[in-house]
């Protein structure tokens, strides 16, 4: 199938228009981040505590907020999580009074008091297999004797917990009964000594202020380091003006995606930094392919003016740009739709980033390379020496 046969668009003609559009979009994003405080830092960078909770019955979010507020924590962020009807919530609280170990010790007792008011004994939804085994061993409902008790009840406990793992939470004893290897006697014993609380803690993250600051610093170092590393690589492989063009295009992609990310309110965490670095890699990748063609065309003839050269190269690589961009956009869309809540922010960055990255390889990278050339000349001798040192390919 042919996507485009010998395309010949004048991409460079409208370069001022596209650069203006991009600059305005970036400004809108930065405005959101810096003046509206839109960027939603997760506990990785801001510090604080994040609890992932699953409830048996859907709680009222306002009541939940009120409850946590009365436990002494204002400014808690409460979001739904997971699929519709899973009754899963994320509760994120900031650092309280410089405490390093977080707010779980405040939030969980408050939740227990409200949602499990008459809980006595052990909550089967809040313990794990070793504790469950320790409960059954001294009672020995299956009558296996002290010799075999530990092995036997560890097996039983693991089977019960595997059952809970698939559900996240036991909401009735019928669900407990389905666990393999759990005898009626053992079930009766559990019903006597434990209860089914009405919520479970699926996950907990706590980051102290100090560690949050360190993670922030490492994140910035990673992004800046990667950008500088790529600029250097392109400078060595191509010419400085192309390095500048590619870096401007990449910076452009990062800023636009960051702005949209902030406006959409996704949580900014370590995984997001990973997503942005991948985006940087992809964006440069995309730009490099075009510049590679420019370099090839340059070797064929030095006489053509840069504008024509850039246009020609963009057109020659256009169908590749569309095809690769297309598959990657498709795949990140799938990741966004089906990858689950934990990975959604990541997939968003990739999805938006690849679209913007494809656009910028055409409309941003080349105009900046041209601009740099007009202002500062062709760029360092270093680049040209590097290009000339490579064995010239036979012209066909």
């Amino acid at each position: 199938m042919e996507i485009l046969r010998n395309p010949n668009f004048d991409f460079m003609k409208y370069r001022r228009f596209w650069v203006t559009v991009s600059v305005l979009t970036i400004l809108a994003g930065l405005f959101g981040i810096f003046f509206l405080g839109r960027l939603n830092f997760g506990v990785d960078f801001a510090g604080g505590t994040q609890l992932t909770l699953k409830f048996r019955d859907r709680p009222d979010v306002e009541a939940l907020r009120d409850l946590i507020g009365r436990a002494g924590i204002r400014e808690a962020v409460i979001q739904t999580f997971g699929s519709e009807g899973s009754n899963e919530f994320i509760v994120r609280t900031p650092i309280i009074g410089g405490s390093e170990e977080g707010s779980a010790a405040l939030v969980l007792p408050a939740l227990n008091a409200r949602f499990n008011p008459d809980l006595r004994g052990t909550d089967l939804n809040q313990i794990g297999a070793p504790t469950l085994a320790d409960l059954l061993i001294p009672v020995d409902p299956d009558g296996v004797g002290t010799e075999r008790a530990r092995d036997h009840y560890t097996g039983v406990a693991e089977s019960v917990m595997a059952q809970r793992k698939a559900r996240g939470l036991f909401s009735s004893w019928d669900q407990v009964r389905e666990a393999g290897g759990l005898s009626p006697a053992a079930l009766e014993s559990l019903r006597g000594s434990t209860m089914l609380g009405s919520f479970a803690v699926l996950g907990l993250e706590n980051v102290s202020p100090q560690v949050g600051a360190e993670l922030r610093q490492r994140g910035i170092l990673a992004v800046v380091g990667a950008l500088v590393g790529m600029l250097l690589y392109i400078w060595v492989r191509f010419e400085l003006r192309f390095g500048v063009g590619a870096t401007m295009a990449t910076l452009h992609d990062v800023l636009i995606t960051l702005g949209l990310y902030a406006w959409f309110g996704y949580e900014f965490n370590l995984t997001t930094v990973a997503a942005f670095l991948t985006l940087i890699g992809y964006s440069v990748n995309d730009t490099v392919v075009t510049f590679d063609r420019v370099r090839e065309n340059l070797r064929k003839s030095r006489s053509v003016d840069t504008l024509t050269l850039l246009n020609k190269s963009i057109n020659q690589t256009l169908s590749r740009t569309i095809l690769t961009g297309g598959t990657t956009i498709l795949v990140s869309l799938v990741l966004y739709l089906y990858g689950g809540d934990v990975i959604r922010g990541f997939a968003f960055v990739m999805f938006v980033g690849v679209i913007v990255g494809t656009y910028s390889s055409i409309f941003i990278a080349s105009p900046f390379a041209l601009l740099w050339e007009r202002w500062f000349g062709m760029g360092g001798r270093f680049g040209r020496a590097g290009a000339a040192a490579k064995p010239a390919r036979a012209n066909r």
């Binding site: 990673a222 690589y233 990973a274 670095l277 690769t324 799938v334």
Partner: protein, 526 residues
Amino acid sequence: MSKSLLWRLGLVVALAALAAWRLWPPGETINLGLDLQGGIHLLLRVETQDAVRAETDKDMDVLRREAADDGVAGIATRRLTDTTFEATGFAADRLAAVEKVARDWLGGGWDWERTGAGLVFEMEPANERSIRDGAVNQALQTIRNRVDQFGVAEPLIARQGLESERIVVQLPGVDDPERVKRLIKNTAFLEMRLCEYPWVGGGAPSRQAILEHYGGRLPEDVEVYPEDERDPATGKLLGQTFYALEKRRVITGRDLRSANPSRGQLGQPVVAFMLSADGARAFGEATGANVGRGLAIVLDGKVVSAPRINSRITDSGIIEGNFSDQDAQDLVTTLRSGALPAGITYLEDRTVGPSLGHDSIQSGMRAGLYGSLLTVLFMLIVYRLSGINSIIALALNVLLIFGALAYFGATLTLPGIAGIVLTIGMAIDASVLVFERMKEELRAGKAARAAIDAGFSNAMSSIVDANITTLIAALFLFQFGTGPVRGFAVTLSIGIFGTLFCGVFVSRVLFDLLYANRPRAAKISI
């Protein structure tokens, strides 16, 4: 078939077989990250100033006691900071004698200065460093013991850097996170001390009551400790009572030879212990001389129980308290592993419950499957038969990525799965670059084989440049990332090498296989 083609084909088949063999049996050869299989990641700080302060306290006692033995009685010592203390209350002409005691008994770890009132001691920096260092190492060992006893498979417990006060603990697959975190953090400093007031039979209702007993001022050799009163059924805190105990410890946790969970006379959970030879001698002397008096069992600064000494006890006994079975079991675990030399603060705590990880794997795998199917479809539509070529290369790429993960023992994390899904999208880029180039060459009138040659060699530099730039990003990510993000960087890097190999080498082999015997073929299904 040419010799070089045969050789290259052999290499591809061998690598595929190697990867498949590394991956067998499926599902057991790849390390899953904590975010996928559930578990705990902890970064903790050992509060080493606790250990430094304890050392200062100990040396103050040594100085006072040894000086008294040498005839300088009544020295008063007072700690000024964690690393300094002053000694006063002796006549100026005894200064030299006290200094001699310091030289002989303080082990060279202290500098001191004469002041008007006496001496001010300051810990030498090297001594302080070694105390801090020792405390971290001892904490590391203690935590290892505790985790081992709890039976966690493949734990990672390591100091973060050589000089650091931080310890990283990673416990995959733990489904009882709160209990394990308590177990690790428990200082578990056990001591037994004789009761001063009340002499026997339970605590005083308040601190005030004890002060009144002593006429408003506590004697030098006495300290007050609280005991929590809890409701036996719910464990709710009801109130506190207080004991005045001798400062001298009869025995501490270090004197234990063993500890085991057991049952008391009423069937309640207790901890039975055996003492070492030295411990048994001290215990025997103290209990023999104090029959009828209370003996307080103090754990981490709180009285657990204070039973009456009924007769001389030498090498074994029980610890009673308001324990549940689990409490008794955990106390045994901590007693066996020894006390922590200092307190612990959790700086970073990431606990992933098993069901959260379970959901993540499912959605990650589903996204991967759909992504691959769409890509396959896309390539077939756009490149027809040549699309099959790229699909084989892609499948091999995924196989090699997983094989390499298994081979290097790398960890697959949720962002790592996302990385693989993305690699699927981006690996196609190599094929697209080559195929588009071939189309151009065909349009320029080249025959099939020449077009294949030109397509690969001309696309090569683009492919290499493009992938190296992504590799640069991955390296920085690996350097500065932590946990799951690091797993992502590893997967991404492996994916890049896989892409280069499959997109360039394997794909070329496949084309050569097809067209090797048809030197004059003019058309490629592309």
